[in-house]
Each structure stands twice: as C-alpha cells, then as structure tokens.
C-alpha cells in the first residue's frame, strides 16, 4: 500500500500558529516534505495531554485570539489546496463539547476533516463523539497509552475503531522517545487488530521513524516541527518564514523517507 522507500507520516501542526498565513505555508511544507496525513491541532488554553512545546505554541496563538471559526477557515484552505491529504483534527473536550458535539463535528466535516483526535474524551465515555462522527461518515480516533491495563486495552480493541492513536511513551508529547522493548510489546497488542495504528509522541529523527515503521500504519510527529517553528519565529518573526518552511519540509522529508 505504501511506497517501500517511504514511511507514512502524520505531521502535526497547530492551527494558526504562528500566524494563519505562515501556518498555511507550514502545511504546504509538511505535505511537500512527504506527510501522508495532517493532524491539525485547534489551540486550547489547557492542552493537558501535550508537552510544553505544543502548549506554548497554543498559548501564544491564543494570546492573539483564535476562534474555532478561524480553525474551520484554516482547514478549509488546506483541504482545498491538498484534497488528497486526509486531515485529522486534534483538540480537547471543552472546545468540542461547548458548541454541542454534533455541531462541532458538522462544522469541520464541511471543510474536509476526516477524523477527530480528542484525548480527554475517553473512548468508553465519549459524550456521543463516536456516534456523531460515524453519522457523518467520519472517524473518531481514540488515544491509547502503554500504561493502559491489559483489560482496558482489550476493551478498547473490542470497540473496533478504524484508527487508534498510540501514545508511545508513558508520558506526554515531546519528550525524547527511544523505541524500547516495552513500546514494541505495547504495539504488539494491536498488531492483530484490524485498527490502523498511528504511532506518535516524541518522534524526533529518522532512526526512530525507521524503527517504528513496520509496527504502525503511520508514524506521528508533532513537537519536533512545532519546536522549530517556535525557535525561528520567537527569535525573529520578520525573518522567520523561509527558515520555518525549510526546516519543517526537511524534517518531514527526513522522517518520511527511508535511507
């Protein structure tokens, strides 16, 4: 299904960060660099399942103000330009629940979102999120973690999700991940299930991507991109555009191509 020389990459970006226009260019760069999927995070003030890097990007964007409608507009533009790249929306329960779950799903369906990743909506108490997604032909992606008990992993598998997002480190996104035996053991639980595994949290380099590729449908990388964007933009916003575009494109290339 995939080109043998290519690793399927889900690349993450924060909607509207650092600016709506520059973030659109980041999306282009990630796709040009080889991303097969985009995970677009709608900024929330208290992103409890994210590391400090993504939290900082979200907070900085929110300081300037960022509405859900701006997120909708952002995704619309990307989808129109790259209709072949599936877009998954990542955010938190508060932004999903407050406008009404069905309204939220419909708003993003209309601009081309394929699925939703909402880490603080547990798969077995999701406030109707999965049903709302499926009614619209979309997919709700639960987030699994290596610390889950076997019982809970089995419960998750019994729900037959199309995708499962596997958080490969016990902790939160952005810390250094070495691919250890335990991680691979955790991934083995899912190997027999029909669910497609998105494996993320902490992937920084080609070596990690290569080690993981046979165990997952797609690797996910996020904070490695966001960190570069923050570094360049906060240093010198006027001069950052080319640097950000180059850095994110090259990193996406590094992670998505075997050597």
């Amino acid at each position: 299904m995939h080109n043998q020389n290519k690793i399927s990459l889900m690349a993450h970006l924060v909607a509207g960060y650092p600016t709506q226009n520059l973030a659109l260019k980041v999306a282009d760069a990630l796709i040009e660099g080889g991303a097969s999927y985009l995970e677009i995070q709608l900024p929330f003030s208290d992103p409890s399942a994210d590391g400090p890097v993504i939290q900082t990007a979200c907070a900085k964007r929110l300081e300037l103000g960022y509405s859900t409608q701006e997120g909708v507009d952002f995704i619309k533009k990307i989808h129109e330009k790259h209709p072949e790249t599936p877009i998954f929306l990542m955010s938190y329960a508060s932004l999903v629940y407050t406008p009404g779950i069905e309204n939220f799903v419909t708003m993003f369906k209309e601009v081309g979102v394929k699925g939703f990743i909402i880490p603080d909506l547990p798969f077995d108490n999701d406030e109707g999120m999965r049903a709302a997604c499926e009614k619209e032909g979309l997919t709700f992606v639960p987030v699994a973690a290596p610390s889950m008990s076997v019982d809970r992993i089995e419960k998750l598998l019994s729900y037959d999700f199309e995708f499962i997002y596997a958080a490969l480190r016990a902790g939160i996104t952005g810390s250094k991940t070495t691919i250890e035996k335990e991680t691979l053991q955790f991934l083995n639980y899912f190997s027999k299930s029909p669910s497609k595994i998105l494996g993320g949290f902490g992937i920084q380099n080609a070596e990690q991507a290569f080690q993981l590729k046979d165990f997952v449908h797609s690797i996910v990388a996020g904070s490695v991109f966001v960190k570069k964007i923050i570094q360049e933009y906060e240093k010198n916003p006027q001069d950052a555009e080319d640097k950000i575009v180059n850095a994110t494109r090259e990193k996406a290339k590094e992670l998505s191509h075997t050597h």
Partner: protein, 427 residues
C-alpha cells in the same frame, strides 16, 4: 459519595489514557483505605496532634451584637496548622500515598496555601515533595514560596501557558503521567477527574463532622452555614454532614470580584455566565467563551479566582440544595475589617467572602437561630494584598525601607526608622 465518579450530570473521569492507570489505581487504594481501621486511626492521630484538630466553633459575640439579628458563630479552620483547611486534605492524601508505597508527592499551587500544606505534610511523613507553581504566582506569593522551601519542598516555576494555577495543574499532570510508579499527585481542591472529588471531600469532611458534634454540644439551632467557594474543598467538607438536613440552609459565596461584568469575577453558579463544560478532567459549570476556551476570571482572593467548581457542589447547586451568592472584593474587604475590629480575628480574603454573606443573612434571621461561617483560613498570608489596600502609604514606605536595608546589608537594629513616613505609626 459519587455514583461511579458522577454527581448527577457532573464529575466523571475525562482524562487522556496516559493518566487512566494512575487514576484507576488511586481509586482502588482510596476505597480500601477508607475501610481500613489502621489507616483511619493513623489519620485521626495526625489530625489531632499535627493539624491541631478539632478546631473551635467560636461564638462571635461582639460581631453579632454590632451586626444585629441572629448570633454568628465561626468554625475556626484558620487555626489548623499552616493556617487553613488545606492541611486536612494534604495530610490525608499524603498518608494515603505512603500506604500506596509512593515516595514522591507532587502538587499544584496557585496562592500557595495548598503547596504549603502539602510541603508540611510531606515533611512530617518523610515524603519527597515537589510543588508546581506558575511563575506569575511565585512572583506574587513569595512568603509561601519561602515557607515551602523551608519545609524541604522543591518549588518548580511553571513558565508555560499563562504561568498561573491552571498551567501548574497541567505541568503536575504531565509529571504524574510519566512518574506515577513512585509519585502521587496531591490535588488541592474537590475537583479534577474521579476519584479526586470523593477523596478531597472525604478528608475535608472532618470539618463538618466536628461541626455537627459542636452544634449539639452547644445546643444550637442553625439557620444557615456559610462557606466561600473557589474549587470548593472547604465548602464541601463543611457542608458534608448537613446535606440531608434540609432545614439548614447551605450558602456558597463565590468571588464577585469587581462586579458582574464578564471577566470581572469568578461567578460560576449564581450568575448566568457559566455553562456546562469539560475541563481539567471533569464535567462541571465553567466560565467559558462561546467556543469553550477558558474565560478570564478576577478576584482579590487568589483561592477563589478559578473558572470551575467542584462537580458535587455544581450538582448540589443545580438542585438548589446549596444557594450560591456573589460577594464582591469590596464586600469581602469590609467583612475582613469588621471581624478584625470586633473579634480580633483576621480572615483570609477567601473566607471573608463567607463572612460577608453571613453578616447579610444574620441580619434577616431571628435571634433564636444561628448562622455559622467557615473561616477556611486566616489572613496572615494576605498581608501583601490586604495591607496595600488598607494602608497603602505605610506599606509602600515599609517595603522601600526594607529593600534599602537589605541592599545596604544592615541589621534591623541599625537601619533607619520608618518614622519619617507620613503614617500614623504607634510611637
């Protein structure tokens, strides 16, 4: 007790799976501990000897006379060790963590009272302690930072997000997700994902249990119990024994801040601004924007300056068992001055909100029934906030001269006096 983590439509366990295991393990350990006689005996001893329980139920005779109407009583939680009710929960959870074999405690703190209580409990129980505190809060709550460090805690400055309480919560959650094998997250209020609201209420309910006995001993007929409500740990502990005694009114005082305009207060229950939401792992009433972003809140009292409210209190409020009222900064400061002047008792700014509503209710209540305030904390901690309000010039002169003295490296005996200031200092 919650129904599988829910209180009516509020509560729940809305956490990412990375936190699910520690939360589930904690739930199991807590349920066992509350049935374990040895644990409960140890807890009782710590409550008596370390915390200094029971705290008195005190008749505020002068204040009652000046105010008119029903007699006012004060449950003196501010006399508990470290100066507030926070220690009840900190000691209880630290003991529970120890029984679970944890060696390290982490906690979030905003104003610093919970961090202080946690640091003291950890010193007492020989647990390693690290406190997450927003950089902004460290700046405005230096005295508590000093005390925490004296108790051996490490205070970690949180520089992400808005650098305040909610960011400290996020940072603590993150730490817990990575380190739960040896670490317990000691949450400070009756909120967060289940089982935390049940745990915190359990350890705070000692306030209500004592009060029930004291009411009987003193043979009082109670009209109303008044507590301030931020997250709500003092209120739920204070009210816990009386929820079924429907003849007693339960009154929650929220932070009315500067007034009713949006972002000028932290009114979740008595106004119309709040809505149902899911934040910080639980469903409750929150101050949110139309999109669901957390709205700005404002209060002179750091402990009430929070956009959400514990789920059990939200449930009791929505079924009208608890009556919520907003008390403005100004009313709270007036109550603070009133009790200080007539009773020689300095309320914490949080608790002064409860004092203010009690004064109003007592006036409308006949003399044969009493109104009881939970003074959740004493006001020593607030001097950097209340002193500039009540005596701005003197305070400014004091701070300036103290800074000069430190710069010059002078001993206090050799420093120049403050008497050149325009204040009416004692001579």
């Amino acid at each position: 007790m919650s129904d599988d983590g829910f209180f009516g439509r509020f509560g729940g366990k809305y956490v990412a799976e990375i936190l699910r295991r520690p939360v589930d393990e904690l739930e199991k350990a807590f349920n066992e501990a509350t049935q374990n006689t040895k644990f409960l005996t140890e807890l009782k001893l710590l409550q008596k000897n370390f915390i200094g329980r029971p705290t008195p139920l005190y008749f505020a005779e002068n204040a009652s006379r000046e105010n008119g109407g029903a007699p006012i009583y004060i449950k003196m939680e501010g006399l508990a060790h470290t100066g507030a009710h926070k220690i009840n929960n900190a000691v209880g959870q630290a003991l529970l963590a120890k029984k679970m074999g944890k060696t390290r405690i982490i906690a979030e703190t905003g104003a610093g009272q919970h961090g202080l209580a946690t640091a003291a409990a950890c010193a007492k129980l020989n647990l390693k302690c690290e406190i997450y505190m927003g950089e902004v809060d460290i700046r405005r709550q230096q005295p508590n930072v000093f005390a925490m460090e004296m108790y051996g805690a490490k205070v970690i400055a949180v520089k992400s997000g808005s650098k305040t309480l909610k960011d400290a919560i996020n940072e603590a959650m993150r730490d817990w997700a990575s380190n739960f094998a040896d670490t317990h997250y000691l949450i400070g209020s009756a909120l967060g994902p289940a089982p935390f609201p049940d745990i915190v209420r359990f350890f705070q309910s000692v306030i209500g249990q004592e009060l029930e006995e004291q009411i009987q001993e003193q043979n009082l007929k109670v009209e109303a119990l008044c507590a301030c409500v931020g997250g709500g740990s003092n209120a739920i502990g204070f009210f816990s024994s009386f929820i079924e005694q429907k003849e007693i009114r339960l009154i929650g005082a929220e932070a009315g801040g500067l007034g009713p305009e949006p972002n000028h207060n932290a009114v979740r229950m008595s106004g119309t601004a709040a809505k149902d939401g899911i934040v910080h792992g639980y469903k409750s009433r929150f101050l949110l924007t139309e999109d669901g972003q957390i709205a700005q809140t404002r209060s002179i009292s750091a402990g009430l300056d929070y956009p959400g409210i514990g789920p059990q209190l939200a449930a009791l409020g929505s079924e009208a068992r608890i009556e919520f009222t907003a008390i403005t900064d100004k009313e709270a400061l007036e109550a603070l001055a009133f009790f200080a002047k007539y009773e020689g008792i300095l309320f914490a700014l949080e608790s002064a909100h409860a004092g203010a509503i009690a004064l109003k209710i007592a006036k409308e209540t006949p003399k044969d029934k009493v109104v009881i305030i939970n003074m959740s904390g004493r006001g020593d901690k607030d001097i950097f906030i209340s002193s500039p309000v009540f005596r701005p010039n003197e305070w400014s002169v004091f701070l300036q001269s103290e800074l000069d003295r430190l710069k010059e490296g002078l001993d206090i005996h050799d420093a120049k006096s403050l008497s050149s200031s325009p204040s009416k200092m004692e001579s």
